[in-house]
């Protein structure tokens, strides 16, 4: 029976492949959207991921370095600096600003870089570190604005020269631009102040213990370990798209399940006579149900496989054609979505399965 199902599906391969491709397209919409948000999240957290600071100290109530602003007071800095277990501490200038030519500006986060500890980029072109008066721009952002290394770029009413182009720090929401710490302090009239503190722990002191001590020492700050801040920023990005991804996933899954069920129904309807013959020859209900499950499973699994392959191809294609869109496909969500789709499809295929079980074997005698 399963052999016949397999051979019949093979004979119907164009219809099966068509159904699988349709399922893949339906799933791809949801998977692609998810991958875009994951890509965004990865880029948003890139600065944190690459930093070797153990603890980030932000203004009380702030838990993200994106979609937020933070300011740490001198009192808080003094309180935080007084706790045990700190090897070193750096005042970070980290502010949003408009970047680009007048009328074509976009919002970016400006990071004042120190000599070490916050390098969060790969260089595509130009210098690896900004010199005075220079800015490192994300390469996709520079391309969008038609800029290259050596070109002037306006940041908050002040002109910088592009010293290098970076990779992995561009997100559609919040690109990161690096300038020297001195330039950043001057640009934002920051003086000695700090938007956040980067703290390195002494050997033997864990990040969690250290952040706990800092939080206990000052009521005005929120100290988070790097891992906590990465999680928080990543989640922020994912939450922005969570509802949309969820909706698209549900729609994609239902459409895919309907396609599987319809393909399964068509398969049964086209083969009603052969199924009657098979039943007459002695196929049991169990083997006929297994046949229905197999056809649904094959079509659904092919659709899931095509969707997974499609997202990889789409990722590569978009990296070439639309490099500013960061896509990070997740195998886990692909497997889960395909699995749930298969489950829903198997349920939806109960109708043709029921139809299959009720084929009248006596039909075989009708010439």
């Amino acid at each position: 029976m399963l052999h016949w199902t397999y051979k019949s599906l093979l004979a119907d391969r164009f219809a099966v492949l068509g159904a699988a491709a349709s399922i893949a397209l339906a799933l791809l919409l949801a998977l692609y959207l998810d991958a875009v948000f994951r890509g965004e999240a990865a880029q948003i957290a890139a600065f944190l991921e690459h930093s070797d600071a153990d603890v980030f100290v932000l203004q009380k109530g702030v838990a993200n370095l994106h979609m937020s602003s933070t300011r740490v007071t001198e009192n808080a800095i003094a309180a935080a600096g007084g706790v045990d277990g700190i090897a070193r501490m750096r005042r970070l200038v980290y502010r949003p600003a408009l970047v680009g030519p007048r009328g074509g500006e976009r919002l970016a986060y400006i990071v004042g870089t120190g000599a070490d500890g916050d390098r969060a980029w790969e260089i595509e072109a130009g210098a690896p570190q900004p010199a005075a008066g220079e800015a490192l721009l994300p390469a996709p952002m520079a391309r969008q604005q038609g800029l290259g290394v050596g070109d002037p770029v306006r940041i908050k009413e002040r002109e910088f020269v592009i010293g290098g182009l970076t990779r992995g720090t561009f997100s559609m929401a919040n690109p990161l631009i690096y300038i020297t710490e001195a330039d950043a302090r001057d640009l934002f009239e920051e003086g000695d102040g700090a938007d956040a503190l980067l703290v390195w722990a002494q050997p033997g002191t864990g990040p969690a213990a250290l952040s706990g001590r800092i939080n206990a020492a000052s009521d005005d700050v929120a100290a988070l370990t790097r891992a906590e801040l990465v999680t928080s920023d990543t989640q922020l990005a994912l939450d922005m798209g969570g509802a949309l991804v969820g909706l698209m996933s549900t729609i994609g899954m239902l459409v895919a399940a309907l396609i599987v069920a319809f393909a399964s129904y068509s398969f049964v309807a086209r083969r009603m006579r052969e199924l009657a013959v098979i039943k007459a020859l002695g196929a049991t209900r169990a083997s006929m149900l297994a046949s229905a499950a197999l056809q649904t499973g094959v079509i659904g699994a092919l659709g899931g496989g095509f969707a997974a392959a499609g997202i990889v191809v789409l990722d590569a294609a978009l990296a070439l054609w639309v490099p500013e869109v960061a896509v990070k496909p997740a195998l886990g969500i692909t497997v889960v979505l395909s699995g749930v789709t298969l489950l829903v499809a198997e349920l939806a295929a109960l109708v043709p399965a029921w139809q299959l079980l009720n084929v009248d074997p006596a039909e075989v005698f009708n010439a």
Binding site: H3, W4, S8, E274, I278, L281, G282, T284, N366, A367
Partner: protein, 289 residues
């Protein structure tokens, strides 16, 4: 030592009734049919269209449940079997040959022949050799890997016969096996069924309109209006319908009535009804069949 199974007919049907529809629209497609078939016997069931032949064959093959009566295959009542057991009994003990061949289009000749063996657990491996042998026996070796669409009608029917034999069933049910074949191919298939019954000691029940097949039958039965009766081959016993005067063959007649110790036959239920309403007037006219 006598064979204990010899006393038990391979297939035994008793008082089979099948009614389709309800009330005034009810049709007794099969009406009190009893039949016993032994191994090695070829039984031919003939009758006009709509006489209930296919319904009877469906019931004998366990595809349709009778409304009344019993069917026993090798001494075991089909009614006592669960749906799964009946399916397994069909796969293992009954071979089917259909007028429309009913081959599975996606499978090759070899795969079609082998298919029923996949439905009986543990038979597949042994069946492969048997399938090859059947394909040779039925002169299909050159077409072993062909798909049904690539075969002639005669070849398809031979594949269907090979498929029916793959599980070595003691009973073969054939529905109009020569219905779609030309005279030459039809005769070949008829002889093949005859040989299968004789050489392999199988019972073969054939439902057909084809008069050529009468030659191979051991027993010829006539089904009309759901009732079955034996009929000698090529023999007729003509009588006259006392109502309309039409000539009626006693062997095939199903409308009968007795009056005054004499049995009368009628061409139709209408004539019989009129006769019963006033037999004296028809007998008095001297029209006695």
């Amino acid at each position: 030592m006598p064979d204990a199974n010899a006393a038990v007919p391979l297939l035994s049907a008793t008082g089979l009734v099948k009614v389709f529809g309800r009330g005034d629209a009810a049709v007794r497609a099969v009406d009190g049919v009893s039949l016993q078939v032994a191994r090695g016997e070829v039984v031919l069931i003939k009758g006009p269209s709509g006489s209930g032949k296919t319904t009877l064959l469906s019931m004998l093959g366990g595809l349709l449940q009778p409304d009344a009566g019993d069917i026993a295959l090798q001494g075991r009542l089909l009614a006592d079997m669960s749906q799964t057991e009946r399916a397994r009994a069909r796969a293992a003990h009954i071979g089917f040959v259909f007028q429309a061949y009913n081959l599975l289009e996606a499978l090759s000749v070899f795969e079609n022949v082998l298919f029923p063996a996949r439905l009986v657990s543990g038979r597949l491996e042994a069946a492969r050799e048997r399938a090859e042998a059947l394909i040779r026996r039925l002169d299909l070796a050159q077409r072993r890997d062909a798909l049904p669409a690539q075969l002639s009608g005669g070849e398809r029917q031979r594949v269907a016969i090979a498929r029916a034999l793959i599980n070595d069933p003691p009973l073969l049910l054939a529905d109009e096996p020569t219905g779609n074949l030309d005279s030459q191919r039809g005769l070949e298939v008829a002889m093949l069924l005859h040989d299968i019954a004789r050489e392999d000691e199988r019972a073969v029940i054939i439902v057909t309109h084809d008069p050529r097949i009468e030659e191979i039958a051991d027993r010829l039965m006539w089904l009309e209006d759901g009732r079955l009766r034996d009929r000698k081959q090529d023999a007729h016993d003509w009588a006259v319908d006392p109502v309309c005067g039409m000539r009626v063959d006693r062997w095939t007649a199903t409308q009968l009535a007795s009056h005054d110790g004499h049995e009368y036959v009628f061409c139709s239920a209408r004539c019989r009804k009129r006769f019963i309403a006033g037999p004296a007037s028809y007998v008095a006219d001297g029209v006695r069949s």
